[in-house]
C-alpha cells in the first residue's frame, strides 16, 4: 500500500507499464522475431538459393551476375501461342510472349466483366420479381453456380459442351442465324468499321457533348417557367439530328475503297459487275443464277483476290452478297504487291484493296492502261457475315473454344455473385423510399433514376469492383483448358527457361499492379460517395 501511494505522489507511470514504451519494445521484439525466423530458416534459404542462383543469374558471356537476372527475357521464346491480340511469332522474345499473355488475360476478363454485369443485373432483379417462377429460377441459378467450383464449370463447358460439337463442315447454326458453332471455333457476325465511319463516331461524340449542354439548358429553362420538363426528349432529338448528319456525311465518302478490274473494255462501272457475272454464267437474270447447281455455281462465280488485314474484302463481299452475285475469294495475300502478282497471273477476276495502297503499286502492272481502278460504294458500318469456304469458316468474329469456355465460365460464375450484390443493394433501400417517391408523383423511370439507383449504387459498387478484381484473378484458371493467358504463358516460360524466381516475380508484379489499380478506383469511389453523404 505504501509503495503504491508513493507512486501516485510522484505521478509517474513506471516504464514497464507505459504504453508508449510498451509499443516500441513490442515492435523491436517483432523485428527481432522476424529476423530470428529468417536467420534459422534463412541459412537453408541462402544455401539453396546459392545452388539455384548459378543457373538463374547466368549472363550471355557465361558469367554470373545479379543484374543478368532478366537477360533471358530477350531471347526467343520458341513456343507458339494459339491466339493473341498483338502480333506474335515463335521467334519473338519472352517479353513479347508475356505481353501476349497479359493482353489475353485482359481481353477475356474485360469481356467477362461486361457479360457478368449484364447477367448479374438481370438475375439480381429477377430474384426480386413478384413472379414466383422467375424468382425461383433465378434463385436456383444463383445457388447452383455459387456452390460449385469455377474450375468445374469451366472444364465442364469446355470439354462437355464445346468439344462435343460437330466439325466445321457440319457447324451448328442455332435458329438459322449466321452463327457457326463447331468444335474448332465459334464464329459470330462482326461489325466492321470502314474508314469513313470515323465521321459517324466523331458526330456521335459531338452529339453527346451537345446533348449534355442542351439537356442542362432545357431543364433549367423549364424549371424557371415551372413547366413540365421535356428536356430529355428535346435534347435526345438534337442528338439524333447530329448523328443523322454524321451518317449522311459518312455515306457520301466512298473514296477509300476500291477494286481493280481486269478489262476496262468489259467493265466500266460498278453496275457492270452484275452484267459481267451474268455473261460469265450465261443466264439472263440473277434469279436464274440461283437455280444453277452448286458445282456450276462455283465454276462461274467471280473470283476475287484480296489483301489480308484490309477492310476492302468485307466491303466487297457484303456488297456482292446484297446483290446476290456469286463469288469466291480465291486468294488472300499478305501484301498489295503479292496480290497484284497473283491478279496479273490471272488467278482472279478482280482485286479488292484500299485505293491508297493500290494507287502507288498500279504502275508495276505490265499493261496498266488496260486496268481500271474503280471507286467502290462503301457503307461506313457493315455487318461481316461468316460463311463456309473450303471446310473452314471465313469472315465474322471467331472465338476459340478455349476462349469461349473460359469467358462463359467466368461470366456465369461472376454473374451469380453480382446478382446477389445487386439484390442486396436494392433490398438495402428502406421501403419508405419507394413509397415516398411514389407519393411525390415520380414516374417509374424517375423513381429509378433519382431515388433508387443513387442509393443502391452506393451499396452495390464497392463489392462489385472487388468482384471484378476477382474475375481478373480467376481468369488464371484458363490454364486448365489451355487458354494462353498471362499465367499460362508464364508457366510455359518457366518450364522452358527454368528461371523460377524471375517468372514468379513478374507474375506477382503484374497481378499486383492490376489489383492496385482496382483498389485505387475503389478508394476513389468510396471517398467520392462519402463526400456526397455529407
Amino acid at each position: 500500500m505504501i509503495f503504491r501511494r508513493k507512486k501516485e505522489a510522484s505521478n509517474q507511470i513506471p516504464f514497464w507499464r507505459d504504453i508508449r514504451v510498451f509499443g516500441i519494445i513490442g515492435q523491436i521484439l517483432f523485428i527481432l522475431l522476424i529476423f530470428l525466423f529468417f536467420r534459422t530458416i534463412g541459412s537453408n534459404f541462402i544455401t539453396n538459393i546459392g545452388k539455384l542462383g548459378r543457373a538463374q543469374f547466368i549472363c550471355q558471356d557465361g558469367s554470373y551476375n545479379l543484374k543478368c537476372a532478366f537477360d533471358f527475357m530477350r531471347t526467343p521464346a520458341g513456343f507458339g501461342i494459339a491466339e493473341s491480340v498483338i502480333p506474335y511469332e515463335v521467334t519473338d522474345s519472352y517479353w513479347q510472349a508475356l505481353k501476349v499473355g497479359l493482353f489475353n488475360t485482359l481481353k477475356v476478363s474485360l469481356l467477362a466483366i461486361l457479360f457478368s454485369t449484364i447477367i448479374g443485373v438481370v438475375v439480381g432483379i429477377a430474384r426480386l420479381s413478384n413472379n414466383w417462377l422467375i424468382k425461383n429460377v433465378a434463385r436456383w441459378y444463383v445457388e447452383i453456380i455459387r456452390n460449385t467450383p469455377l474450375l468445374v464449370q469451366i472444364v465442364f463447358i469446355y470439354f462437355v459442351v464445346f468439344l462435343t460439337m460437330p466439325s466445321v463442315n457440319e457447324s451448328l447454326q442455332p435458329l438459322g442465324l449466321p452463327i457457326f458453332l463447331s468444335r474448332r471455333a465459334m464464329v459470330f457476325p462482326a461489325v466492321r468499321l470502314m474508314p469513313s465511319s470515323a465521321w459517324i463516331i466523331a458526330f456521335i461524340v459531338l452529339g453527346l457533348i451537345q446533348f449534355q449542354i442542351s439537356y442542362r439548358k432545357f431543364s433549367e429553362s423549364s424549371a424557371r417557367k415551372h413547366k413540365q420538363s421535356h428536356a430529355f426528349r428535346n435534347a435526345g432529338l438534337i442528338f439524333l439530328l447530329i448523328v443523322g448528319i454524321g451518317i449522311l456525311i459518312a455515306n457520301s465518302r466512298t473514296s477509300s475503297q476500291s477494286i481493280l478490274v481486269a478489262d476496262s473494255t468489259r467493265i466500266n462501272s460498278c453496275q457492270d459487275i452484275e452484267a459481267y457475272a451474268l455473261r460469265k454464267a450465261g443466264v439472263a437474270n440473277i434469279a436464274d443464277l440461283q437455280k444453277l447447281e452448286a458445282e456450276k455455281l462455283t465454276e462461274v462465280s467471280i473470283k476475287i483476290c484480296t489483301v489480308n488485314g484490309t477492310s476492302s474484302e468485307s466491303n466487297l463481299v457484303s456488297w456482292l452478297q446484297k446483290k446476290k452475285i456469286p463469288f469466291s475469294v480465291v486468294k488472300r495475300s499478305s501484301t498489295v504487291t503479292q496480290a497484284l502478282n497473283s491478279y496479273e497471273k490471272g488467278d482472279c477476276d478482280m482485286l479488292a484493296a484500299p485505293i491508297n495502297l493500290i494507287a502507288g503499286e498500279k504502275a508495276s502492272l505490265t499493261d496498266h492502261q488496260k486496268h481500271l481502278l474503280l471507286p467502290f460504294p462503301e457503307s461506313p458500318v457493315l455487318l461481316d457475315r461468316p460463311r463456309i469456304e473450303n471446310a473452314r469458316v471465313v469472315g465474322g468474329m471467331s472465338f476459340s473454344p478455349e476462349f469461349a469456355g473460359l469467358l462463359l465460365g467466368l461470366s456465369f460464375y461472376a454473374g451469380a455473385f453480382i446478382a446477389e450484390i445487386v439484390r442486396a443493394g436494392i433490398q438495402a433501400i428502406p421501403k419508405g423510399q419507394f413509397e415516398a417517391a411514389t407519393a411525390l408523383g415520380l414516374t417509374e423511370w424517375q423513381k429509378l433514376r433519382l431515388v433508387i439507383l443513387p442509393q443502391s449504387l452506393r451499396v452495390i459498387i464497392p463489392p462489385l469492383i472487388s468482384e471484378y478484381l476477382g474475375t481478373i484473378k480467376d481468369s488464371s484458371l484458363g490454364i486448365a483448358i489451355g487458354y494462353p493467358d498471362l499465367y499460362n504463358v508464364a508457366s510455359t516460360t518457366l518450364n522452358q527457361s527454368g528461371r523460377s524466381l524471375q517468372v514468379i516475380l513478374i507474375i506477382m508484379v503484374v497481378y499486383l499492379t492490376l489489383s492496385l489499380i482496382t483498389s485505387a478506383i475503389l478508394n476513389w469511389y468510396n471517398n467520392k460517395i462519402r463526400f456526397v453523404e455529407k
Binding site: Q27, I31, N48, N130, S476, I504
Partner: protein, 547 residues
C-alpha cells in the same frame, strides 16, 4: 347479368391496354407475338407441352374470373399474386411453363431413362449403343475418387478418421441442444477437449508416426516441457488462465504424457507414416480444407490484430536519420560500381536504387505512422490478396523447398498445404477485421474500466464478439476454401477434380467425362450448399436479433 359484367370488365381491360403510349403497345405486342411463336415451336418439338399450355390457360382463367367476381379463394389469390399479377408476368410464366418441362425431360432422359448403372458396362467396347450416361463409372472408380492412390492397407485409418469426425460432429450437435436446456458444463468441456486433440488424432491417423530410435528423447522432453510451462506461466501472469496448483501440474505433465504416448504409438508400429503424395480424391480435398482452415485461424487472428494495431510507431526523426544513413551508404558503396558496369539506361537508373528507400520511408511514415507491425501485416495481406490463388500455390511449390535444410525433400503436398494456409489466413484476417471494426468502442472502454489487461481484453471481450459477429462470413470463407481446392489439380496433385481428369484417361472408362464431372460438381454442390444455407440461416437469425 353476371356474364354481362364480366364482358364489360374484359372490354375495359382491353381498352386500357390500348390507352398506353404507342411505343409501349408496339413493344408489348411484339413480346406477345414472340411468345406465341415460341409456344408453337415448343409444342411442335415437345408435344407434352400442350398439357402445360392447357394448365396455364385454365389457371389464368380461374384467377381472372375470381378477380372479376371479387371472390378470391386461397388458391386463386396465390395464383394472382405470384404468377399472373400483370400481363407481362403472365407471359413470363407461360414462357417458363412451356420451357421447363422439356428441359427437365431431357435431363431425366439423359440421367435415368437412357442411362446404364452397371459398373461392368463402362468400357467403350462393351458399352451398349444409344446409352446416354454410364453411371457405372462412379462405383467402378469409387476407390480412386474417394482416396486416390492411397494404399488399401491404410484405408481403415481413413475410415477411423472419418468416423471420429462424424461422431464428434453429431455429439456436438446433440450437446449444443442439451447445453442450451440444462447447461451441462462437464459434457461441454469433454467435447471441447476432444475437439482440441482432434488435430493430433488426425495427424496420427492420416500422416502417421515414424518409428523413433528410443521411446522418449530426454533432451526434447525437457525442452518441450519448459516451453509449455513457460507459455502457461505467461498466460497465468496475464490472467488468461487462473493461477492454481492444478493448472501448474497440468502444464508440467501435459508434454511428457503426450510424448510418451507418442513414443509408444511410434514404437508399436500401428500407424506407419503415409506418403502424403498418395493422398488423393475426396480425402485430399477434405485434408486441404480442414488443415488450411484450422492452421490459418491463429495466423488470421494475428494478422487482423496486426493490421489494426495502433501502437505508437517508431519516431519519425529516428526513421529519417536511419534512411539518410542507409541512402548515403548505398550511394557511396554500390552506385559507382553499378554505374560503371551498366549496359543500358535502365540499368543506369537502377544504380540509384538507394533513392527508392526515401520513398519507402515517406510512405511508411505517411500511411502507417511508423508502426512496423501494422505495415508488415497490411503489406502481407494485400500482396497475397492481390494475386490469384494458383499463383500462391505455384509460389509455395517453388519457394517452400528453398527454406528446408539440404537433403530434406519437401513434398509438393506440404507446399500446397502451406500455400492454402497463407491464402486462407489473409482472407480470414480481412473477415475478422470486419468483425473487429463492428465492435463498439464502448466494449473496449468497458473492458479497460473493469481493469482487464490487453490480453484479457482481447481474449475474453473482443475476440468472442468479433468471431460471433462474422460466423456467416467465416462459413462462407470455409465454403470458398472447399471449392477452391479443386484447382490443386493444375499444380499436379490429385484431388477430386485431378482424379476425375485422370480417370477419364483410363481405357475402362474412356470418354465418360460428363458423368464424372457431374458427379464432382454434385459433391462440391452438396458440401457447399449445406454449409452456405447454414450460414444464411445464422445471418437471418442475427438480423432478427438486431431488430
Amino acid at each position: 347479368m353476371q356474364t354481362k359484367r364480366l364482358l364489360y370488365k374484359l372490354l375495359e381491360t382491353v381498352r386500357d391496354f390500348f390507352k398506353k403510349p404507342l411505343l409501349t403497345i408496339i413493344i408489348q405486342l411484339a413480346i406477345i407475338a414472340f411468345i406465341i411463336w415460341y409456344t408453337v415451336r415448343q409444342i411442335a418439338a415437345f408435344p407434352l407441352s400442350i398439357l402445360i399450355l392447357l394448365l396455364w390457360i385454365v389457371t389464368v382463367l380461374y384467377s381472372l374470373i375470381a378477380e372479376f367476381r371479387h371472390s378470391h379463394t386461397k388458391m386463386s389469390l396465390w395464383l394472382k399474386k405470384n404468377l399472373y399479377s400483370s400481363l407481362f408476368n403472365s407471359c413470363l410464366t407461360l414462357v417458363i411453363f412451356i420451357s421447363l418441362p422439356s428441359i427437365l425431360y431431357s435431363i431425366i432422359d439423359y440421367a435415368i431413362l437412357r442411362a446404364t448403372f452397371s459398373p461392368s458396362l463402362t468400357a467403350p467396347g462393351v458399352r451398349p449403343p444409344n446409352v446416354s450416361a454410364s453411371w457405372g463409372v462412379i462405383p467402378g472408380a469409387w476407390k480412386l475418387l474417394a482416396t486416390g492412390t492411397l494404399e488399401p492397407v491404410h484405408l481403415p485409418r481413413v475410415w477411423i478418421a472419418f468416423f471420429w469426425m462424424m461422431i464428434l460432429a453429431i455429439l456436438t450437435y446433440i450437446t449444443l441442444r442439451i447445453v442450451q436446456k440444462k447447461k451441462n458444463p462437464t459434457l461441454r468441456k469433454t467435447i471441447t477437449s476432444l475437439w482440441l486433440i482432434t488435430p493430433l488424432v488426425l495427424f496420427v491417423l492420416l500422416v502417421g508416426i515414424a518409428k523413433p530410435a528410443q521411446l522418449v528423447d530426454i533432451a526434447s522432453l525437457i525442452k518441450g516441457t519448459m516451453v509449455v510451462v513457460g507459455l502457461a506461466l505467461i498466460m497465468m501472469w496475464q490472467k488468461v488462465i487462473p493461477l492454481s496448483i492444478k493448472n501448474i501440474i497440468i502444464a508440467i505433465l501435459i508434454w511428457p504424457v503426450f510424448s510418451v504416448l507418442w513414443g509408444f504409438l511410434g514404437q508399436s508400429g500401428l500407424f506407419p507414416p503415409i506418403n502424403p503424395e498418395k493422398w488423393g480424391g475426396l480425402l485430399l480435398t477434405t485434408i486441404i480444407t480442414i488443415f488450411a482452415s484450422v492452421i490459418s485461424f491463429p495466423i488470421g487472428v494475428a494478422l487482423a490484430f496486426g493490421r489494426k494495431s495502433q501502437l505508437r510507431g517508431i519516431p519519425d526523426w529516428f526513421l529519417w536519420i536511419l534512411t539518410v544513413v542507409i541512402v548515403i551508404w548505398g550511394l557511396a558503396t554500390s552506385t559507382p560500381a553499378m554505374l560503371s558496369s551498366a549496359r543500358n539506361t535502365l540499368e543506369k537508373l537502377m544504380a540509384f536504387w538507394p533513392l527508392l528507400i526515401i520513398l519507402i520511408t515517406y510512405l511508411f511514415i505517411k500511411i502507417f505512422k511508423g508502426n512496423v507491425i501494422a505495415a508488415s501485416s497490411t503489406v502481407f495481406i494485400e500482396v497475397i490478396r492481390g494475386v490469384p490463388l494458383i499463383t500462391i500455390l505455384f509460389l509455395a511449390i517453388v519457394m517452400a523447398p528453398l527454406f528446408v535444410p539440404e537433403g530434406v525433400q519437401l513434398k509438393n503436398t506440404w507446399s500446397v498445404l502451406i500455400g492454402y494456409t497463407l491464402f486462407n489466413s489473409v482472407y480470414l484476417a480481412e473477415v475478422l477485421r470486419g468483425g473487429l471494426n463492428a465492435i463498439p468502442q464502448g466494449q473496449y472502454e468497458a473492458a479497460d474500466a473493469i481493469g482487464l489487461n490487453t490480453i484479457q481484453k482481447i481474449w475474453f471481450v473482443i475476440l468472442p464478439q468479433a468471431v460471433q459477429m462474422v460466423i456467416p462470413a467465416l462459413v462462407n470463407l470455409f465454403v470458398g476454401l472447399f471449392k477452391s481446392t479443386s484447382i490443386v489439380g493444375i499444380v499436379g496433385l490429385f484431388d477430386l477434380m485431378g482424379i476425375v481428369s485422370s480417370v477419364t484417361g483410363n481405357p475402362a472408362w474412356q470418354g465418360l467425362r460428363t458423368e464424372l464431372y457431374i458427379f464432382a460438381a454434385l459433391i462440391y454442390f452438396l458440401g457447399s450448399y449445406v454449409l452456405s444455407s447454414y450460414s444464411q440461416r445464422i445471418e437471418r437469425k442475427n438480423l432478427i436479433k438486431k431488430r
